[in-house]
C-alpha cells in the first residue's frame, strides 16, 4: 500500500550503519546552494524587536512565494496577491508564536498560507492537534535552531534533484491537487525519497518530543 517504501530503509527501524554518512553526503552536496539569507535571524528580529526592516526583507522573499503557492493551488492572481498580504500580516501579528527550534520560517509560512487557502475555499474546518508545551522556558539549542533553519534549504535542493515528473507530483500534493487516496494510489510519488530526505528532520523532532 505504501508504494515504493519497501525498497527503502524503514524510517523508524534499526539504523543502517551508513545513515549518518549518507546524510552528511547530502548536506555537503547542497552546501553551496543553501541560501545566503538567514531567514531565522530575520524572523527572530521581527519576533523580539518588531524590526520593520527585517519584516520588509522577509516580505520581499516570502510574499511572492505565497502568492505563487496560492495561484498554483488554483487561486486567481488578484486574490492570491491579497492573501499573500494577509499571510505576511499574520507573520507579523503572530510572530510571538514562531519557534525557531521547531520549524524553519518557510515551513511556518507554508502552514499559514495553507490555512489561508482553506479559508478561501471555505471548505471545512481543519481541526488542529493539541498544542504541546515543550517545557517551561527551555532555551532552544543553537544547533537545533540551525538545523531547523537548514532543513528547508536541503529539501529544496533535494526536490530539484528529483526527476521532473516526481517533483511535479510532490508539488501537486502540497498545492492541494491530490486527495489522500490519490496520494496513496500514485505510484510515481517518491515517498521513499521524501522520507529519506526528511529523516534528519524526523530525528530532530522526535528527540525534542521524547
Amino acid at each position: 500500500m505504501l508504494l515504493d517504501l519497501t525498497l527503502h530503509q524503514p524510517i523508524y527501524g534499526p539504523k543502517p550503519a551508513n545513515r549518518r554518512m549518507s546524510w552528511r553526503g547530502v548536506a555537503n552536496s547542497v552546501t553551496g546552494r543553501i541560501e545566503q539569507t538567514d531567514f531565522t535571524a530575520l524572523m527572530l528580529a521581527v519576533r523580539d524587536q518588531q524590526d520593520r526592516a527585517a519584516f520588509a526583507a522577509l516580505f520581499q522573499h516570502f510574499a511572492p512565494r505565497v502568492k505563487g503557492f496560492l495561484m498554483k493551488s488554483g487561486t486567481e492572481a488578484a486574490l492570491a496577491e491579497d492573501c499573500a498580504q494577509d499571510v505576511m500580516a499574520v507573520l507579523w501579528n503572530k510572530a510571538a508564536q514562531f519557534d525557531p527550534a521547531r520549524a524553519s520560517v518557510a515551513t511556518w509560512v507554508f502552514t499559514i498560507a495553507r490555512n489561508r487557502r482553506i479559508d478561501i475555499a471555505r471548505r471545512a474546518r481543519r481541526p488542529e492537534p493539541e498544542v504541546l508545551d515543550w517545557g517551561p522556558d527551555t532555551e532552544p539549542d543553537q544547533a537545533e535552531i540551525y538545523e531547523a533553519g537548514q532543513e528547508t534549504a536541503r529539501l529544496v535542493a533535494a526536490l530539484s534533484d528529483l526527476p521532473e515528473k516526481q517533483r511535479a507530483l510532490i508539488q501537486r500534493a502540497f498545492y492541494g491537487e491530490l486527495s489522500h487516496s490519490e496520494i496513496a494510489a500514485e505510484t510515481g510519488l517518491p515517498l521513499g525519497t521524501i522520507k529519506s530526505r526528511i529523516r534528519l528532520a524526523l530525528e530532530r523532532l522526535r528527540q525534542n518530543l521524547s
Partner: protein, 262 residues
C-alpha cells in the same frame, strides 16, 4: 502501552497539505495529539510543504511592499494570542477576542479555527509532560471541541446489542462518529466503499487483521470485510471516520442503515 498502528503517509501528507475532509482531519488531529511519532512525521511533511512554497515565486504588484508596511500595527502579545486561540476554539460561534480576528480580511469561523495551524506553540496547554493517552473520560482537545465536552457529554444512540454511536458534526465528504462497543461485543460485519479510519480512544478491539488498543488507528479500505470485537473486560470507545457509507452484509443492519446513518 504504546501505539502500534499509526497514520499512513498519504493521510499525513494530505493533512499537512490541508486537503483531507473535515472528518478525517478530526481523526488525524486526535491521533497526532496522542502520538509523538506521527506528530514528528507531520512536522516533517510540513517541512516539505515549506520547500514546495520556496519554489513557487510569482512577482507581486509594484506597491505590494509599501502596502504591507502600511498595515503593520502592534503585534499581538504571546499571552493574548494563546487566549484568543482558546476563545476561538471553545466557542466558534461567538468570538469576542479581537486577537483571532484582526489579521485576515473576511474570516469565517472556519478561518479562525484553521488559522490555528500556524500556532503550534501557543503555550496554552499545561500537562504536556503527562501521558497523552486518554484516561477514561479524558479526550484529546480536538475531539473535546467537537463533542462539546468529555465522554459524559456524548449523546449516544443505540444501534442494538449494546452498541452505541454518536455522529459528530462535520462537513460533507466524510462523516465522523464515536462508537461504543460493550466489552466482548462485536460490531456487525461490514465492508466499506471508501476508506474507514478507526481510532481507539479507550479499551481495545480485535479483528481478523490485528488487535487495536488506545491510540491505534485501523485504516480499512474497500477490500477489508471485518468484524471488530471489543476486548473482554472493558468497553471499547472509538472515533471512526468514513468517506462513504458502510456496507453491511446482513440484511437487518442494511435495512436499519438509513435510520442510523451508519
Amino acid at each position: 502501552m504504546s501505539i502500534r498502528h499509526h497514520l499512513s503517509d498519504p493521510l499525513l501528507i494530505a493533512y499537512a497539505a490541508g486537503t483531507l475532509p473535515e472528518a478525517f482531519s478530526l481523526l488525524v488531529a486526535t491521533h497526532v495529539s496522542m502520538c509523538d511519532t506521527c506528530r514528528a512525521a507531520l512536522a516533517a511533511f510540513e517541512t516539505v510543504g515549506g520547500a514546495v512554497l520556496q519554489d513557487s515565486a510569482v512577482p507581486l504588484a509594484e506597491d505590494a511592499l509599501a502596502a504591507a508596511m502600511a498595515r503593520l500595527g502592534a503585534p499581538e502579545k504571546r499571552e493574548a494570542i494563546a487566549k484568543s486561540d482558546a476563545g476561538a476554539k471553545s466557542d466558534a460561534g461567538a468570538k469576542s477576542d479581537a486577537g483571532a480576528k484582526s489579521d485576515a480580511g473576511a474570516k469565517s469561523d472556519a478561518g479562525a479555527k484553521s488559522d490555528a495551524g500556524a500556532k503550534s506553540d501557543a503555550g496554552a496547554k499545561s500537562d504536556a509532560g503527562a501521558k497523552r493517552l486518554p484516561k477514561p473520560g479524558d479526550l484529546p482537545a480536538p475531539l473535546l471541541d467537537y463533542i462539546g465536552g468529555d465522554l459524559t457529554a456524548v449523546k449516544w444512540r443505540s444501534l442494538g446489542m449494546g452498541v452505541r454511536q454518536a455522529i459528530l458534526p462535520t462537513s460533507k465528504g466524510a462523516s465522523a462518529r464515536l462508537l461504543y462497543i460493550p466489552a466482548g461485543q462485536a460490531v456487525p460485519d461490514h465492508g466499506h466503499r471508501g476508506t474507514e479510519l478507526t481510532l481507539v480512544l479507550q479499551g481495545a478491539f480485535r479483528d481478523a487483521t490485528d488487535r487495536f488498543g488506545p491510540g491505534d488507528v485501523e485504516i480499512a479500505d474497500e477490500d477489508l470485510q471485518h468484524i471488530p470485537v471489543a476486548d473482554a473486560g472493558e468497553p471499547c470507545i472509538c472515533l471512526a471516520a468514513t468517506d462513504a457509507p458502510l456496507r453491511f452484509s446482513a440484511l437487518i443492519p442494511r435495512l436499519l442503515q438509513p435510520l442510523f446513518r451508519i
